[in-house]
């Protein structure tokens, strides 16, 4: 077994995932250092979301190794909840709990999973909500807010547990263009603050500006990965070129 680089936060080697006969991920290799922002790009069905779900142990991989903070988390004996308590995830469809207010959504995991006292958890949540322009929404229920506000609240909920790695699964895909901006601004701020993130996205301009590494997925493979300048201006693969030509217009 290869030894992980000492300071790599996440190291993925030869990961494979199948649904029955269908191979959805193959030969995935990816290294994420602290403060990296990795953007996964590629057409729908290329495996971006599945990869994120495998990293968060929502799906079991069929082969390969995932190491997180120097420990193999693809081992069946690993405590999944313990891993997830240090990894945040935000979904395309927000998945806020509709029966709780925004504030209660945000303090649920810190209080119940991490054992943070109520006052402290609420203070931290309110600070983050304020930072994200949601100070006045804290006591509302999610369904009463706009899509952009809901997605920002979902981001705050993920951040409230102070994860070392943030996984964002096409978080702007369900938003209209006006609202995309307000969510991406926040992600950009997080990147500047040094948050380590892996995000599946269709926002190419954003990926070009913010990513430290861009991975182009095609048919379940990472066909090409590198710094955005390289991938966007001088892609090695013909498939990448065609994809970029299509999405960049």
């Amino acid at each position: 077994m290869t030894h992980p680089m000492p300071d790599a936060l996440l190291e993925v080697t030869d990961v494979r995932k199948t649904y029955g006969e269908k191979v959805v991920l193959r030969d995935i290799a990816l290294t994420v250092e602290p403060h990296d922002v990795v953007c996964l790009i590629g057409s729908s069905g290329s495996g971006k979301s599945t990869l994120l779900r495998c990293l968060n142990l929502l799906e079991d991989v069929d082969d390969g190794v995932i190491r997180f903070e120097g420990r193999e988390i693809s081992d069946p004996r690993v405590d999944r909840r313990e891993v997830r308590s240090r990894m945040g995830m935000v979904f395309q469809s927000y998945n806020l709990f509709p029966h709780l207010t925004v504030l209660d959504n945000c303090v649920l995991a810190p209080r119940r999973v991490h054992g943070v006292p109520k006052a402290e958890a609420e203070q931290r949540a309110r600070d983050l909500l304020t930072q994200f322009g949601l100070a006045d929404q804290a006591d509302k229920h999610p369904d009463r807010m706009s899509g952009g506000q809901q997605q920002r609240a979902a981001l705050v909920r993920a951040l409230c547990t102070q994860p070392t790695l943030l996984l964002l699964d096409e978080i702007t895909a369900a938003l209209d263009p006006e609202l995309v901006g307000e969510v991406l601004t926040i992600v950009r701020d997080l990147a500047e603050q040094g948050t380590t993130m892996i995000l599946a996205t269709h926002e190419m301009a954003f990926a070009r500006d913010v990513a430290t590494t861009v991975c182009f997925l095609d048919g379940g493979r990472i066909l090409e990965q590198g710094p955005p300048a390289e991938i966007f201006t001088n892609p090695r693969e013909e498939r990448t070129r065609r994809f970029l030509a299509r999405v960049l217009g």
């Binding site: 030869d14 191979v23 193959r26 069929d62 082969d63 390969g64 693809s74 069946p76 004996r77």
Partner: protein
């Protein structure tokens, strides 16, 4: 697009992991087996070793009495209890759905019906079913109405339908109300009428959600068919009482209990199966 020929072989690490998963599964199987056997052994031993067990065994679990009581109870069970709930369930579903829909309706003309529906559910959920059976089975014939049947079976059935209709109506209403308003909006947007939106979009989803409590009510109904026996209908329970009184042995009650259980278990498994299938079809990630 041609897929490359699959040459994948599990890596050494993956084979190791599969072995770990297998051993974890074996351990889980072992734990569940031991726990299950131990639990039932304790229950069995506790029952059999109690001081009164021999006499309980001969009065409640006597094989000869079971065989002797079987045919007459079967006849009563089939002609009355099974018929009562088979007919009853259909009528209850129709009545309950109608009441639930009326309570959900917004049309101004239907206001009087809405009032009736509210009074009906409040009133009939409040009256004990056995009282309702007595009131209808004894009260209606006492009115001496021309052309109205005095059949105990008929009025017992009506009492059960009225009582359970009120319960089931509320269950269905809860299901309907649990459907997100956006579903009605999108039905509206497609040009469906209010009734069509209910009929094709809301009710199918809402009813599916409340199938477990609906099943509860139906199982409860199956058992409550025995209440009509209390009003004098010669149903399974009455037949069992008859046998018990004549032979001084209660095994006939055990036989009735078995009849009811045998009836409900397949129904419960069948609805579980239906629900599971629907969930797998509609939801990604459901296991």
């Amino acid at each position: 697009m041609s897929e490359p020929v699959e040459t994948w072989q599990p890596s050494a690490r993956e084979r190791e992991r599969q072995a770990v998963r297998r051993s974890l599964r074996r351990r889980a199987l072992l734990v569940s087996t031991v726990a299950t056997v131990a639990f039932f052994a304790v229950v069995w031993f506790g029952t059999v070793s109690s001081p009164g067990w021999p006499s309980v065994k001969s009065t409640f679990f006597n094989w000869d009495d079971a065989k002797a009581a079987f045919p007459s109870i079967w006849h009563a069970f089939w002609t009355y209890n099974v018929k009562l709930f088979l007919i009853g369930e259909v009528l209850i579903l129709i009545l309950a759905l109608a009441v639930a829909l009326i309570r959900q309706s917004r049309a101004p003309v239907l206001l009087p019906l809405r009032i009736v529906a509210v009074i009906y559910t409040d009133l009939f959920r409040g009256i004990p079913t056995i009282l309702l059976v007595f009131m209808l089975a004894f009260g209606i014939p006492a009115l001496n109405l021309q052309g109205v049947t005095n059949s105990l079976f008929f009025w017992g059935l009506v009492a059960l339908v009225l009582s359970y209709g009120a319960y089931v109506a509320e269950v269905i209403r809860a299901g309907i109300e649990s459907i997100h308003p956006s579903q009605i909006s999108s039905a509206d947007a497609l040009g469906l009428s209010r009734f069509q939106a209910m009929r094709y979009v809301v009710v199918p989803q809402g009813v599916r959600r409340v199938i477990p409590p609906l099943l509860n009510d139906f199982i409860s109904l199956q058992k409550d068919t025995a209440l009509v026996g209390a009003a004098g209908l010669f149903d399974a329970l009455f037949a069992a009482t008859d046998y018990a009184n004549f032979h001084f042995n209660f095994t006939s009650y055990t036989v009735v209990a078995l009849y009811f259980i045998v009836l409900t278990i397949p129904l419960a498994r069948f609805t579980d199966h239906l629900q599971h299938r629907a969930m797998e079809r509609e939801r990604q990630g459901a296991r």
